[in-house]
Amino acid sequence: MPSRTFDPLIDVTPADGADSYTVDTGFLDRVFDAEQVLAMLRGRPLLGPDRVVAPARIRFVAGVLQELPDDLASTDLLALAGDFALEAGHGEAVDRYLRGADCARRRADFVRERAMHLRACRAVARFRGPAAATGFFEELGAVEDEPCPIDWLLTLAEMQPEHALTHLTEALDLLDAPHQAHFRLTALEDLAERLVAGSESELALRHLGTALELAQQWDDPGRVGQVHAQMAGIHLVGGRPDLAMAPLQAALDGALSDGDDLLVVAHGTLLCAMSLDRKKWKAAETCARQVLAAAERRGNWLGVADAALAWSSAHVGRQNLGPAVAILARTLLTLRAHGAHAGGALLHARLGELRADHGAEIFDPMLDRVVTALRAP
């Protein structure tokens, strides 16, 4: 049998000073604390501040379980760790759920074991497609008087994409407990995604509205931004860019407050394009500069090129050709210095466009002046 994969979240070392043969005050305190932390993990959804601190809490409980093995606690902990990975889209979820199922079986808790297996099946279907999980799913099979209806319906939704709307709707009716809010939010987003695929944008937006309320209620700016981005995407693809601006701005604000540079680039790039289209030069410039900084930190040179282009376009829109050329030329030389020739080619093309637009007699002296200044020692 292959050795079990090392899981950095669960397979942690016991706390410092832990002695497996000594029951001292420290040990008792740790057990007491672990019980409290585990209760917190069980009772709160993986949303907002609880989501942020969940890995640390899980690791703490896992450390205590090294000293005092407890299958019941392990099952719950592995389920939570699996949920955490599933929400984040990480493949470790499958292994964690299967380990949780093992713990449940050791305690002869077959309902919990089935729940873990269903979740593992769901994770396989989500990451590798329903075909990869078919054998597993058939082995689990449908049972009369299903003991884990929520897990069963959510798994069915992954396994039968053509009936996902029905299964998700039924699951949402059952997902009403506060500690299941993250499942409910994910199910709402899944439902909206399926509806968008079926060209039912209005209904999708309604479900996303509910998801947004939930994310705001649990004070989760990351998920709020995610829902806003989905709403903006629906509006953009549906040809309603005006309606997309507000959710995009909200998503960008969320990304900025989270310090998530990747999302700043993604949302900011879209917002900048719309500001330019509406001739909101100041807003476009502000947004472009935010994107430029974030893209540079990420090493996204095409993002840097795009932000420089947008920033210079804001100047061109205000009839300031000089600064526009300076921004482009400076960024072009910077990108070339980084070996980022693809981004450089885009800036080069933009300079060519401006030259064609304004004429060589105006453009060339301006570029010459800029290049001279940039190359000056």
Binding site: G89, F127, R128, G129, A131, E193, A229, Q230, G233, L236, V237, P241, L262, V265, A266, T269, L270, C272, A273, M274, L276, D277, K279, A295, R298, G299, N300, W301, L302, G303, D306, L309, A310, S313, V316, G317, A329, L332, R336, H341, A342, G343, G344, A345, L346, H348, A349, R350, L351, G352, E353, R355, A356, D357, A360, F363, D364, L367, D368, V371
Partner: protein, 528 residues
């Protein structure tokens, strides 16, 4: 059907180079066909190879059923020789026959029945019962394809606003040269080590020539017809489409959908064409970064853009299929012009899920049919409990269909139409197995084009052997099903028929699983 074959054989016998021993052996094989189209097991094994070829021939449009050894791992050397000899002789026969069956010439029209003089006895349709489809214009041909429809001819509009002509919006050489003089020209793409989001380079292949990245004036028409992975607008759209369909992370899928469906909003006038291209390329990088996985994801995305691999593979496989020597590894070798790198079966690369999805995107949609259940009494209508009503039904049935109710006797022979759904499915399944050779070769070629030197041959060798075993299993089950036709109903156990169908179902499942495994493993070579 067999008589036409005999005629050709007779013509061959008059040929100056006829080998008497070979003729005797083939005649023996031929007699097998005459006796109710039954083949001895070893003969079935010998001809099994051609089914993959027939499938491929149908797939690539030549609609030829030429015998050969394609796709089947026949164990005895002499068996292979026999199949090849028979194939050569049939080719000779085709030359004598006025109707060409392939070999590079124009394809003969497909006749799905058994009445034509030119019918090949090697055809899947005959072995798996294709005789009763003559009247059905929508029935699949013997190669499993739907009959060829008349090709529609599009007449180009005379006032096409997008017709090729002098492009006034294109950047002129002087525009770029003028910039070059002052700031230097753009160099070729750097191969320096990359870090951060710069590792996502799949989109950069279209960003080399500044002249193609700009327009003097941005017009809405500039965005029309921008598709394909070599276009600076089409490439990020393709990346977005791929991630929208196949991405694991929701945020990547959402951004991918925007890229694929809202490109028009990303080209404001103020930014020019180059600004729009930059925006789309930057968003493509963001979508990849949101998906995560760094180089693995980027290679998977790059492989999904290798759109020319399928047509190139098909054109390379065509002559091999016609010669009856279709094997996925050989097609790959021919495509890359040498023996592809390989690894032993126990060192195959770990699977790549996203890469496999990228490969599947390159291929035409595949369909592996489900095996239907067969009701041996399907030819008997529902009989009413009311004797008068039953009699009336019988009279009506007689006048409507010409079927005599007295033929519903317990010892009636099982008619062809009862077994036809299963026989058809077996034929489709065999075709799918044949097509899988080309699909796998195309997948491996795509991987090689993204990462030259990737060890892609190993998985193909495994696939080749496995497909041969699957083809043999389908052939065995198909032959058994064929034998059921005409048997007395009261001597045919439904459980036995169900067992045969289960054999087909098992072969189908093995084919589905093999395809799944093969795509993931071939894609895994991207990262090996």
């Amino acid at each position: 059907m067999a008589s036409s074959y005999q005629e050709r054989r007779l013509q061959q016998q008059h040929g100056p180079e006829t080998d008497v021993q070979e003729d005797a052996r083939d005649q023996q094989l031929l007699e097998g066909f005459d006796e109710g189209m039954e083949l001895a097991p070893e003969q079935a094994g010998r001809v099994a190879a051609q089914f993959g070829n027939a499938a491929l021939a149908g797939l690539i449009g030549s609609q030829v059923a030429v015998p050969g050894a394609a796709g089947v791992d026949l164990e005895e050397e002499e068996t292979i020789e026999l199949v090849e000899e028979v194939g050569e002789e049939l080719e000779d026969a085709h030359k004598l026959d006025s109707r060409s069956y392939g070999g590079g010439g124009p394809s003969a029209p497909v006749d799905d029945g058994n009445s034509g003089d030119g019918d090949s006895p090697w055809d899947v349709g005959h072995l798996f019962g294709g005789e009763d489809d003559d009247e059905d214009p929508h029935a699949p041909t013997r190669t499993g394809r739907l009959p060829r429809m008349p090709r529609r001819k599009f007449k180009a509009p005379t006032d096409d606003p997008f017709a090729d002509g002098p492009d006034e919006g294109e950047l002129q050489a002087e525009d770029i040269d003028g910039v070059d003089k002052l700031i230097g020209d753009t160099q070729a793409r750097s191969e320096t080590p990359r870090d951060g989001d710069a590792v996502y380079r799949a989109v950069e292949d279209c960003l080399t020539d500044p002249r193609e990245l700009g327009r003097r004036i941005l017009e809405p028409e500039d965005l029309v017809g921008r598709s394909g992975a070599t276009d600076p607008v089409g490439r990020p759209i393709e990346i977005g489409r791929f991630l929208a369909d196949c991405g694991h992370r929701r945020s990547a899928r959402v951004l991918g959908r925007v890229l694929a469906g809202a490109a028009g909003h990303l080209f404001p006038d103020a930014g020019g064409f180059s600004g729009g291209v930059a925006r789309m390329c930057s968003l493509a990088v963001c979508a990849e970064a949101l998906e995560g996985g760094r180089e693995r994801t980027d290679r998977a995305v790059a492989v999904s853009l290798a759109q020319d691999t399928w047509p190139r593979t098909v054109s390379m496989a065509r002559p091999m299929a016609q010669q009856g020597r279709l094997h996925a590894p050989d097609v790959l070798d021919a495509l890359i012009g040498g023996r592809a790198p390989s690894v032993p079966a126990h060192k195959l690369p770990p699977p790549s899920v996203l890469g496999a999805r990228g490969l599947i995107q390159l291929l035409p949609p595949s369909y592996v049919p489900e095996i239907p259940s067969i009701d041996l009494d399907a030819d008997i209508g529902v009989v009413s409990d009311d004797p008068e009503l039953a009699e009336l039904d019988a009279v009506l049935a007689f006048f409507a269909t010409g079927r005599d109710a007295t033929a519903d006797a317990p010892d009636r022979p099982i008619p062809q139409e009862v077994m036809q759904p299963a026989l058809h499915t077996a034929r489709y399944l065999m075709n799918a197995a044949g097509k899988a050779h080309v699909e796998m070769a195309a997948a491996a070629f795509a991987v090689s084009s993204v990462r030259p030197g990737a060890p892609v041959r190993g998985p193909l060798e495994v696939v080749d052997g496995a497909l041969a075993r699957i083809a043999r299993a389908i052939l065995r089950a198909g032959r058994k099903l064929e034998k059921v036709v005409g048997n007395p109903r009261d001597q045919t156990d439904p459980a036995a028929v169900e067992a045969i169908l289960n054999e087909l179902r098992e072969a189908r499942q093995r084919l589905v699983d093999l395809r799944h495994w093969a795509f993931e493993t071939v894609a895994g070579a991207l990262d090996a």
